[in-house]
C-alpha cells in the first residue's frame, strides 16, 4: 500500500515535470483552432505545415460546428474557427465574435451519392435513388447537419425528395451517416466527396451539380478576444495559400470558385420560398412545438417498450441471481452488469452489428432504439430486483414448497408479491434510464425526427442547429421526467423501510 502511494506520487511528479518543461521551451502559447469535424483531418496536416514554416504550435479541437459555435459563444479560448457551415459563422458575426475582415471561405466540397455495391455503374443522374432496390438511404439530418441540408436541396432540385423520403435514415451528422454505410448495413447514402476519400469501401455513384444545392463553403475567421493571438491572422491567411489548398484537395475538398461574388443560382421547386426558411427550418414556433411533442411521444413509446422487454427478463434474472448457487451465476452477473459500465456507444455498436448480422429488420427504427435502451436499462432493474429478493427471508419460498407449492406458484404468490416494491422501483429507474438513453440509440437507430429522435437526441440535435432555442423546453421535459422517476423510486424504497421497522403488537 505504502509502495503504491510512492509510485503514484512519483508518477504525478514526473507528469508535472514534463508539463512544466514543455511550458518552458514554448516561447509563444499555442494557437487554438476550433475545427468542424469534417475538416479536422485536413487541418491537422495544414497545421503541421504551418508549424514547420512559422514555428508556432497549433492545437486543434474538433467537434460538430454547432457545438464549437456554442462553446465560442460561451467564451471558450479559441483563436481561429473553421466551420463546416456558413450559418454558424454568420451567427458569430452577428454577435460580433469574429474579426469580420479575416473571414474567408477556405474550401468547398462536392455532394455525392455513394454505394457499397460495386456492380453499379456510375450513374448519369440521381434518378436510380427512386428505385426501391437501393434500399434505405442514409443522409445527415437536414435540420441540423449542413450535409443533410444540401442533400435535401439537391434531391428537391431533382424532384426526388418526396419519392425517397420514406426510405431515408437520418444520421446526426455526416460522419455518422458514413458509419451507417460502412458498418451499419445501409447500402446507399449521400455524403461529401471528402468523406469518401477516407475509405475504399464506398464507391461514388454520382456527383451532384453544385448548382443543385446551396453553395458548400467552409468559412474560417479569427475570433475576437481580449488578446488576439499574434499568429491568428497569419494562420487564417495561410489557409488560403496554395500549400494549404493542395492539402485540402488531397483530402477530397475542392477549391472555392474564384469569381468574387458568384450569384449561385439555387433552383427551387414550387413557389418561391425565402432562403431563410430552408436554412433555419426549426425557427418557426409551431414546428418547434410539434417536434417537442414528437420527441416526447417517441421517448415515451421507446422507453415503455424497452421496459416491457426488460421486465420479464429483469425480474426473472434478478430473482434467479438472488437465489441461485449455480456456477453460471458470476458469468450471468457480469453479462448483465456490463451495459452499466460499458460506454453506451459501444453497446449501440454491438447491438447494431448483431442486428445487421441477424438480418433483423429493425435497424434505424424505433424498435432498435427500444432494444438498445432495454439493454442499457436492464442492469438497473436486475440489481434492484435482486436486492429486494435478497432482502426477503429466503426460507419463505421453502415454507411454500413444504406446503406443496410449485416453483411457479412460489414465484407468483410469494417472491413477486414480497418484492414488488423492488420490482416497481427498479422498473421506474430502468424506464428513466431507457427514456434518457442517448449513446446506444443514436448508433443503432439514427436520429430521425418522428421516427427515432427521442428527447435526448432532440436535445443533442438542437444544440447543433444554428437556432438552439429549442434546447431548453426539451431539457426541462427531460429533467422533469428523471426527477419524477427518482422520486417515485425513492418513495417506494422508503415505505418499505418503514414497514420493516414497525413493531409487532403486544399481547396474545
Amino acid at each position: 500500500m505504502h509502495q503504491l502511494g510512492l509510485t503514484v506520487l512519483t508518477l504525478i511528479l514526473a507528469i508535472a515535470g514534463c508539463e512544466s518543461r514543455r511550458g518552458a521551451t514554448d516561447r509563444q502559447p499555442e494557437l487554438v483552432v476550433f475545427a468542424a469535424a469534417s475538416v479536422a483531418d485536413a487541418l491537422h496536416d495544414i497545421a503541421d505545415a504551418f508549424e514547420a514554416d512559422k514555428g508556432i504550435r497549433i492545437e486543434i479541437s474538433a467537434a460538430a460546428s454547432g457545438v464549437l459555435r456554442i462553446q465560442i459563444e460561451s467564451g471558450a479560448p479559441c483563436d481561429v474557427f473553421v466551420s463546416a457551415d456558413p450559418l454558424h459563422m454568420d451567427r458569430l458575426a452577428t454577435a460580433g465574435l469574429i474579426l469580420l475582415d479575416t473571414r474567408t471561405d477556405i474550401a468547398s466540397n462536392t455532394l455525392v451519392i455513394v454505394t457499397r455495391e460495386t456492380q453499379y455503374e456510375a450513374w448519369t443522374s440521381p434518378e436510380p435513388l427512386a428505385e426501391s432496390a437501393v434500399g434505405r438511404i442514409a443522409i445527415a439530418h437536414p435540420d441540423y447537419a449542413p450535409a443533410g441540408r444540401y442533400a435535401r436541396s439537391a434531391l428537391e432540385h431533382h424532384n426526388l425528395w418526396s419519392r425517397v423520403e420514406p426510405r431515408i435514415v437520418f444520421g446526426d451528422n455526416v460522419r455518422l451517416t458514413l458509419q451507417q454505410l460502412l458498418i451499419g448495413g445501409l447500402r446507399c447514402g449521400i455524403v461529401y466527396a471528402s468523406d469518401v476519400a477516407t475509405t475504399d469501401a464506398l464507391d461514388i455513384a454520382y456527383r451532384f451539380d453544385p448548382k443543385s444545392h446551396p453553395p458548400i463553403r467552409y468559412p474560417a475567421a479569427v475570433i475576437r478576444r481580449a488578446n488576439v493571438h499574434p499568429a491568428a491572422n497569419a494562420f487564417c491567411r495561410f489557409l488560403g495559400t496554395d500549400a494549404a489548398r493542395s492539402i485540402l484537395r488531397s483530402h477530397g475538398f475542392t477549391d472555392v470558385p474564384r469569381s468574387e461574388d458568384p450569384p449561385e443560382v439555387v433552383e427551387r421547386l414550387g413557389p418561391a420560398q425565402s432562403v431563410d426558411d430552408t436554412v433555419m427550418p426549426i425557427a418557426s414556433e409551431s414546428l418547434f412545438d410539434e417536434s417537442l411533442m414528437q420527441a416526447l411521444t417517441l421517448s415515451v413509446r421507446v422507453s415503455i417498450v424497452a421496459l416491457l422487454f426488460c421486465l420479464p427478463i429483469g425480474v426473472l434474472t434478478g430473482t434467479w441471481l438472488a437465489r441461485t448457487r449455480s456456477a453460471w451465476r458470476p458469468i450471468v452477473e457480469l453479462a448483465i452488469t456490463c451495459p452499466l459500465v460499458i460506454p453506451p456507444v459501444v453497446t449501440g455498436l454491438v447491438v447494431l452489428y448483431l442486428v445487421v448480422r441477424m438480418r433483423l429488420p429493425v435497424a434505424y427504427t424505433w424498435w432498435a432504439a427500444a432494444i438498445a435502451s432495454a439493454i442499457v436499462a436492464l442492469p438497473l432493474l436486475v440489481r434492484t430486483v435482486r436486492a429486494a429478493v435478497e432482502a426477503m427471508d429466503d426460507r419463505l419460498p421453502l415454507v411454500a414448497a413444504t406446503l406443496g407449492a410449485s416453483r411457479t406458484r412460489v414465484f407468483l404468490t410469494i417472491t413477486l408479491p414480497l418484492s414488488w416494491r423492488g420490482v416497481v422501483g427498479g422498473a421506474v429507474l430502468a424506464w428513466a434510464r431507457a427514456a434518457g438513453e442517448f449513446g446506444a440509440t443514436i448508433v443503432v437507430a439514427g436520429n430521425t425526427p418522428g421516427k427515432t429522435q427521442t428527447i435526448p437526441l432532440a436535445i443533442y440535435s438542437a444544440l447543433h442547429s444554428p437556432d438552439d432555442s429549442a434546447v431548453w423546453p426539451l431539457v426541462a421535459v427531460a429533467v422533469l421526467m428523471s426527477v419524477a422517476a427518482v422520486a417515485i423510486s425513492e418513495a417506494l424504497v422508503r415505505s418499505k423501510r418503514k414497514q420493516v421497522f414497525r413493531a409487532p403488537r403486544n399481547g396474545h
Binding site: 427471508d393 415454507v399 413444504t402 406443496g404 410449485s406 409487532p504
Partner: protein, 352 residues
C-alpha cells in the same frame, strides 16, 4: 414408520445419525448445535444429505444409493418453523389455506380454526397478530396442507413464558385431536416429556440415546444441572371451578383436589398446569397446620440420581418428577413403592 440414516456436513459440523421411530410423536432433544434442526431439514428436503436414506411410511424421501430425491413439495411435510415465517402479504385465512390445494382428507378448515381458536383473526394480517397468535397460524397452516408428518422446529422458542404456555396447550390439543405423526425438535426437556412418546437425544451430530422420555432423562449424559432447574411437570386437570372468594381455581387430578391461585377466572374446565420439579416438597407423613394449600398422597415409582441431584418419580394419578437432595432420600427412605405426601404451594402452580 420413519427411518432416517443421514450424513451431512455443514461447515465444520458433521451430522451422522441413524434413527428409527414407530411412535406418533418423536422428540429430537439436545443442546444448540447438536444437529436437531439439520436432521429435520434433511427429512423435509430443505437440505440434501451427502449420504443417507430417508423413508417415511414406505415413501422414499431421499436415498444416495441409488440416488433418489423427492422434491420438497411432494414429501407432504407440515413444517412449523421456529419463527412462524408467515406470508406477511396475505391474510390469516389466505395463510391457512395456502397448502390447501394439495387435496386429500387432511384436517378440515373449520376444525383447525376451532382447535387453534383462530376464528377472530382470520381477516387480519400476520403483522397485526401477537407472537403466540402467529405461532398458532403457522401450526394451522401446516396442518391444513394435509401433511403425512408434522415437523416442529422449536415452536415455543422466542415467546415469553406466558405465551409459550398458551401455545403449548394449543399444540397438545392439535397433536391429540389430529393424530398426525410428528417430529418435535426442542432443547426443553419439559416440552419433550409433555409432548413426546419417544425421544432421540442428539449431541455433536450423533445419537446419544433413544427411548421413552421418562426413561431417557435419567440416563447418563442426557441432562445436566441447567436442565434440572428448568424441569417442569406439565399436566391436564379436570373439573375446574373458579373460586371468586379466594381468587383461585379448584380442579382435580383423578380423585385429588388441587388449588391454584389465579387472578383471572379460568375459561376451560380442563386447564393445563405446570409445577417445577423443585417446587414440590415430599413428606413421609401428612403434614398438619401448614400454609401450603395442596397436600396430595402419592406413591414413589422410581428414585434416580441425575448429576448431583436425585429425581423422584411419584404417582399422583399422573406421574410427577420431584427433585430432592441425596440426604432427603436417605432420611425419608424414598424407594419404589413408598407412600409419601406431595406438598405444593397454590402459588407455585402455573396455569398455562
Amino acid at each position: 414408520m420413519l427411518r432416517a440414516t443421514v450424513t451431512k456436513k455443514l461447515g465444520g459440523f458433521t451430522l451422522d445419525v441413524s434413527i428409527q421411530s414407530d411412535v406418533r410423536v418423536t422428540g429430537l432433544f439436545g443442546p444448540s448445535g447438536s444437529g436437531k434442526t439439520t436432521l429435520l431439514n434433511c427429512i423435509a428436503g430443505l437440505l440434501d444429505p451427502e449420504k443417507g436414506d430417508i423413508v417415511f411410511s414406505d415413501t422414499p424421501y431421499f436415498a444416495s444409493d441409488p440416488p433418489a430425491n423427492r422434491p420438497i413439495r411432494e414429501r407432504r411435510v407440515g413444517y412449523v418453523f421456529q419463527d412462524s415465517l408467515l406470508f406477511e402479504h396475505m391474510s390469516v385465512r389466505a395463510n391457512l389455506l395456502y397448502g390447501r390445494n394439495r387435496g386429500g382428507n387432511g384436517p378440515g378448515f373449520d376444525d383447525v380454526v376451532d382447535v387453534l381458536a383462530l376464528g377472530p383473526q382470520l381477516a387480519r394480517k400476520p403483522r397485526e397478530l401477537s407472537g403466540g397468535e402467529q405461532r398458532r397460524v403457522a401450526i394451522g397452516r401446516a396442518l391444513l396442507s394435509n401433511p403425512a408428518i408434522l415437523l416442529f422446529d422449536e415452536p415455543l422458542t422466542g415467546l415469553d413464558a406466558a405465551l409459550a404456555g398458551r401455545v403449548m396447550v394449543y399444540l397438545k390439543r392439535v397433536l391429540d385431536r389430529f393424530a398426525i405423526p410428528a417430529l418435535y425438535v426442542s432443547h426443553s426437556i419439559s416440552d419433550v416429556i409433555y409432548f413426546c412418546d419417544e425421544v432421540v437425544v442428539l449431541r455433536d451430530g450423533r445419537v446419544v440415546t433413544q427411548g421413552p422420555p421418562g426413561e431417557v432423562i435419567t440416563r447418563r449424559g442426557v441432562l445436566d444441572d441447567r436442565h434440572l432447574t428448568d424441569l417442569r411437570n406439565v399436566f391436564t386437570a379436570s373439573d375446574a371451578n373458579y373460586d371468586q372468594e379466594h381468587a383461585a381455581v379448584r380442579c382435580r387430578i383423578g380423585p385429588l383436589e388441587l388449588l391454584v391461585y389465579s387472578a383471572t377466572p379460568e375459561r376451560t374446565p380442563t386447564p393445563t398446569l405446570a409445577i417445577r420439579a423443585n417446587d414440590i416438597i415430599l413428606a413421609a407423613a401428612r403434614p398438619e397446620r401448614i400454609s401450603a394449600r395442596n397436600v396430595l398422597p402419592a406413591t414413589v415409582q422410581r428414585v434416580e440420581p441425575v448429576g448431583g441431584k436425585i429425581l423422584v418419580f411419584i404417582d399422583v394419578g399422573t406421574t410427577w418428577i420431584v427433585e430432592v437432595g441425596p440426604a432427603a432420600v436417605e432420611e425419608l427412605s424414598l424407594k419404589p413403592g413408598a407412600a409419601v405426601f406431595a406438598v405444593i404451594k397454590a402459588s407455585a402452580i402455573e396455569l398455562l
